[in-house]
């Protein structure tokens, strides 16, 4: 791997002098039971080459048959992105030679995508809404998976040979292509990230994909170009392939803007090429130069008849569309009574579903927000994981809050219970029992502790007796300490007053 240093322009200076234009292609694997063109089951993590049929392997004479559910999912996606659904469209062969494509062509769509000309309104972290125009969404199939053997790094360069698993070959994909996204200026990286994130949420809401980034269910190719002013013609673009996390989408756009600005400043010209994103180092490196070899010799797939979704079917699908995330967020915000900024924080922290489930488990919206956005958000930040990845469930938070509401534990004890649950000690109830954290509700031990505290601090006891209630806190403090925080402070106060007045 080349280690030559790359000149990067300062980001703020780059966007002050150039207008970035981005374009994003997102591939989503559809969560159907079977593949796009054959009945091989979709299985993640199965033994290699055990989810294949003669069609997935491209064996001679094998004939494809379109998965009707995949077509319906593609229409759902098109409708959710405010697209026109084609009255008729066809599949096409995209011809190229690569071992992960056993037929030597990918069955895709070319000039007749199933959905086209839509838009998606994307909300940025500060609440700004940015409209991204959608060029098209088309159906195609995924490729197999190559593993490169030999060579130093497991990379394709220098590998001695490669191994191919075709389990993924033929899994239905929908590719969504934006029109050039202009006008985002210095917020282009943020827009790119928010767009992919919004799409992911929509895929999940539509029930068309699990949309798990870490499994590669959603993959983004990000195009970036710079031009001197917003009215200049588009500059030469690069396409960074397979950027597979939201953070990487943002970082890769930012990186390309700085890199291209430095090249243009040096009066060089940007090379049109595909680039690879390196998650570990946060840089992109050159891949293939786009050239004549990019001639895919598309032609209509002769083995598949056209798809012509009737308008009745399209309207049926439209009517059955579930509530989309943006509408759902507005509804939930109303139900929960959160302020705009509170709701935005919840959304940005990825806590909407968690809070919804926590409320369903019996906590009040305010309590649910307090836990997820407070203690748990801090824990997630310290551990550098997403909230949803913490080893605690909304049901457990619901149970924890019920323990607090019932007065069996106080807030301070609740934090210890939380610790226990996060440490894998079981449900809140179990942690309370195992750690002996229940609030001491029996007055006996409390009175004992109060008497001891009063005896140890006779001057304070005297002040209280004379009607000066200020120092009561000191006694309560001693009692809490003696009971390791397990006393109900309110009850202790009552008992102290009873005691001194007795």
């Amino acid at each position: 791997m080349s280690t030559q240093t790359v000149d990067l322009a300062d980001y703020d200076e780059a966007v002050a002098r150039f207008d970035p234009v981005i374009g994003i292609e997102v591939h989503v694997e559809l969560g159907t039971a079977t593949k796009m063109f054959d009945g091989a089951p979709q299985t993640f993590g199965a033994e290699p080459n055990t989810a294949v049929t003669p069609v997935s392997l491209g064996l001679p004479g094998a004939l494809p048959a379109v998965n009707g559910t995949a077509v319906e999912y593609a229409i759902r996606i098109g409708l959710a992105l405010n697209c026109q659904i084609a009255e008729t469209c066809r599949f096409a062969r995209k011809n190229y030679f690569y071992p992960d494509v056993p037929k030597n062509f990918q069955t895709s769509q070319y000039d007749e995508p199933i959905a086209h000309d839509g838009y998606l309104d994307v909300e940025l972290e500060d609440g700004t809404v940015f409209r991204v125009e959608i060029e098209r969404a088309h159906m195609e199939e995924d490729a197999g998976k190559n593993t490169h053997v030999g060579g130093a790094t497991g990379r394709i360069q220098g590998a001695e040979y490669s191994l191919v698993d075709y389990n993924r070959a033929g899994i239905p994909l929908v590719e969504i292509v934006t029109k050039p996204i202009t006008g985002a200026g210095e917020r282009a990286p943020e827009v790119a990230r928010a767009y992919v994130q919004t799409l992911r949420d929509i895929f999940r809401a539509l029930g068309v994909s699990e949309a798990r980034m870490e499994r590669g269910n959603v993959r983004a190719d990000v195009n970036v170009s710079l031009r001197p002013t917003p009215t200049s013609p588009l500059g030469t673009r690069t396409e960074t392939k397979n950027v597979n996390s939201f953070r990487s989408v943002e970082r890769s756009v930012r990186y390309e803007i700085s890199r291209q600005a430095a090249i243009l400043d040096a009066t060089g010209s940007v090379t049109q090429e595909t680039r690879h994103w390196h998650e570990d180092t946060g840089i992109t490196t050159a891949g293939r130069v786009k050239s004549d070899a990019e001639d895919y010799r598309y032609f209509p797939e002769p083995d598949l008849v056209p798809v012509a979704p009737s308008r009745e079917w399209v309207e049926e699908i439209r009517a059955a569309l579930p509530e989309l995330p943006a509408a759902r967020r507005r509804r939930l915000q109303g139900e929960w009574g959160y302020a705009d900024a509170e709701m935005r924080d919840v959304v940005n922290a990825g806590a909407v579903e968690l809070i919804e489930a926590t409320v369903a488990a019996g906590a009040s919206p305010a309590a649910a927000r307090k836990w997820w956005m407070g203690e748990l958000a801090r824990t997630a930040k310290t551990q550098e994981v997403e909230l949803a990845e913490l080893p605690i469930t909304p049901a457990q938070i619901g149970q924890l809050q019920q323990l607090v509401d019932a007065g069996r534990i106080n807030d301070k004890l609740a934090r210890q219970v939380l610790e226990g649950v996060l440490a894998g000690e079981g449900d809140p109830e179990a942690v309370v029992v195992a750690r002996g954290l229940e609030v001491v509700s029996d007055d006996g031990p409390l009175l004992e502790a109060i008497d001891a505290a009063l005896a140890a601090q006779p001057d304070i006891a005297e002040k209280i007796r004379s009607g000066n209630l200020g120092p009561v806190g000191a006694i309560i403090g001693s009692v809490m300490k003696a009971t390791r925080g397990q006393a109900d402070a309110g009850r202790v106060r009552e008992l102290v007053l009873e005691r001194v007045q007795a």
Partner: protein, 98 residues
């Protein structure tokens, strides 16, 4: 009028990974040109109300239900492979050193 040049035939052959000798290129350029011209005649007689046709059958929306079928076993899948390793197809080096 020749519409298909020898260079184009060579380029398309290259894209299709077909190795043609100079003699084959000469012969095929001529033969393919005749075919292309013959097909082009169809456009001459087709009136504008005849839509472009990619499929001879007047059928659309032939769908398969999304129901899994029994896949091949790994052994069956690999039975025609020239080489395999760890249950995967073994293919020769894809790219050399860069």
């Amino acid at each position: 009028m020749s519409s298909l040049s020898r260079d184009e035939v060579a380029r398309v052959a290259g894209l299709a990974r077909i190795d043609l000798t100079p003699e084959e290129l000469d012969r095929l350029a001529g033969e393919l040109d005749v075919i292309v011209e013959s097909v082009a005649r169809v456009s001459e007689v087709a009136t504008p109300d005849v839509p472009a046709t990619s499929h001879p059958l007047p059928m659309t929306n032939v769908f398969r239900p999304d129901v899994p079928e029994q896949p091949l076993t790994q052994e069956q899948a690999l039975s025609g492979a020239p080489a395999s390793e760890d249950g995967k197809f073994l293919v020769p080096q894809i790219l050399g050193e860069e």
